[in-house]
Symmetry: C2
Amino acid sequence: LLDALHRLGYPVVAAHLDHGLRTESAAEAQAVQQFAARLGAPCVVERQAVANYAAAEGLSIEEAARVLRYRFLFAAAEGCQAQAVAVGHNADDQVETVMMHFLRGAGLSGLRGMAYYSRPNTWSQARPLVRPLLGIWRDEILAYCTERGLQPAFDQSNQDTTFLRNRLRQDLIPALEAEHPGLRQRVWRMAEVLAGDYGLVEQVVEAAWEACQTSTGPGWVRFQRQELAAQPEAVQRHLLRRAVGYLRPGRRDFGFEAVARAQEALARPGRAGVSDVMGGLCVRVEAQQAWLATWEADLPLGWPQAPVGEPLPLAIPGEVQLGEGWVLQAERRPLESAAYDNADPFQAWLDAEAVTQPLVVRTRRPSERFAPLGMDGKTVKLAEFMLNQKLPRRARARWPLVCAGAAPAWLPGYRLDWAFRLTQATRQVVYLALRRK
Amino acid sequence: LLDALHRLGYPVVAAHLDHGLRTESAAEAQAVQQFAARLGAPCVVERQAVANYAAAEGLSIEEAARVLRYRFLFAAAEGCQAQAVAVGHNADDQVETVMMHFLRGAGLSGLRGMAYYSRPNTWSQARPLVRPLLGIWRDEILAYCTERGLQPAFDQSNQDTTFLRNRLRQDLIPALEAEHPGLRQRVWRMAEVLAGDYGLVEQVVEAAWEACQTSTGPGWVRFQRQELAAQPEAVQRHLLRRAVGYLRPGRRDFGFEAVARAQEALARPGRAGVSDVMGGLCVRVEAQQAWLATWEADLPLGWPQAPVGEPLPLAIPGEVQLGEGWVLQAERRPLESAAYDNADPFQAWLDAEAVTQPLVVRTRRPSERFAPLGMDGKTVKLAEFMLNQKLPRRARARWPLVCAGAAPAWLPGYRLDWAFRLTQATRQVVYLALRRK
């Protein structure tokens, strides 16, 4: 790859990570440096303790090496402002990759194999990962090396058949090819076709992501719950995988069971709840919202919040800020504007004569009661009413309550108090609305 | 399957096709009849010469048996107005199917395996094909048979390892499962996930089919060529496969190369042409249209056609029918309505003073010339002009020409004659339009 790119006139920088796993690795790193020097190409070499990292992160040696290697390559590319990171995967590697994904029952994103060009990729939003040799077979590359008098370094660990990839390379794929001539070629092409199909699926998923996902933050992705639940199962699976990819970049163990657990948590009707999914991630369901988040994430509320201490006075007309962009607004309006059959719980029309001033906004008091409209003046405990209305637990304590003097008048988002309802005798109305900017 | 459905209370009809391939097949057919009689279920048995059909159609024995078997089952279901056709594929069959598709490098539609429920399917638009046992493993079915005292007939040809499926069943899958425990389970689930993704791809393809395909007939599917060419390659591939599925139901050999040939024919710019694709199908490109069709299909023209004999008189105002829904219309219009920079070649404004009556519509005469607007009155042969304009060969002979008396005045869809152009001196206009209803 280095030789070919150099000959094609690309200003290449060689980058080599010494994984420190084999005794000869330092000598190999030196050989890379010498070869780069012969071409007059700058060379970045680093040594990292892959085995330690694997132990610390609970990853296999191969997986740990992969993560560290790509991080190193992209950091090196950043260091010299390279146009792209080019890696040497060839057509045989592609077939092995597809085969490995097949054996572990991977989905389309695995079976499509690697791509000639990936941007964005797991390691960078801006810098592409390219694989110029992806369509060239290993034999062709070895023939090129012979022709050019290049001595490739053979990694002895490639003989180690405790690694699945090596077993595939040495045993399974040659055996299958012998019995099904042309197999490698067919699998390679299949990957290309599946990559095209994956692109179509991504189109659908991208649109669904825009429709379902409402925001992301450190350690969390928030979805509109109904919207997510309404998606086909296959789309939900991709959205969850995408959210995991955002929260745990590079992790590839979000399997069938984990997806099924997350889907089950989302589908469970009624009560809010938290369900473990995998790798320190959970699904949290709260009213209209669903989160995929780390257990320790500090989730934004997304709800209005009344102040904990002194009630906030609300002038008529006037407005108060209730956090997270929520604004509560009051004004006097003509009687004709009143909706007797108001269907939006985030606005209310009150009989102005019942409204003793000043209006205030505060949290509910212990054991406080109110008379929800529609129950003929019967009162219930606010705490119980909130619970029955499935107001999420985290939202209850500081949910705003509008009071006229001491009396609860309106629980925004839920119900007007019976005493403030419009009647045939109403002559003037006070209009209240809670809106998010 | 028969025993279980019967016990679950379904009013089953047994149907068995004797493929006539093994000496014991007649005895097996009899055993099926006896078993059905014991359950009190009606039974339809037929014998068909699979080997003859395979030879006649150039199909493998297995493929021929599959086609005849499904045709027989759906005919039998039609005969007794059955609600569905149920077949006995089990979870092991599913894994084998996916494996076979993988080895032949099939796309998503193969890797997703078989479905629990298919409607429409290759054999019927209305009657579903169901596979109630698709999630049950072969061992579980054998255990059920033992428990119920049922003696399944073992097909001796299942031992014949010249058939790929049998080799997979006996050798490859057990070997892979031994080395990768849980493989069968994972492949089964992978198929389920891929089926979900295939559904998403189908959504995209369905929308593209509606946008690109303009009509179908016996032996042909017509596409709007630009629309088809503008689709992503992966979508084009699915549209072509769908068209092949329509023209050659049940054929499964529309491979990568055939798709590539068809895509190449569609992408080729300029001249019209016909390209062989596979199995007696060709791609035919003509101006705005592209066809996937059998070589012998009688393709509809889709163009306006002038009468072969006497010219058609066209009154002002008035209109004439030119076939395939095309209507040519003439009227006198105020000068202000004229477009001096007309961009639509299917309408024209003529200087009324130049228009000698009557207007007629006819085909071009041998060696006839006209003076296309934009060439300063220079004349060209109509035949050459049509060729240069890439008017499809099949359309040229009867393409309508509007003449004022003997003089060509307008070639609809292409150019006005210079003598009839609007000038500063024009006082009145004749408006002509060719439209498809």
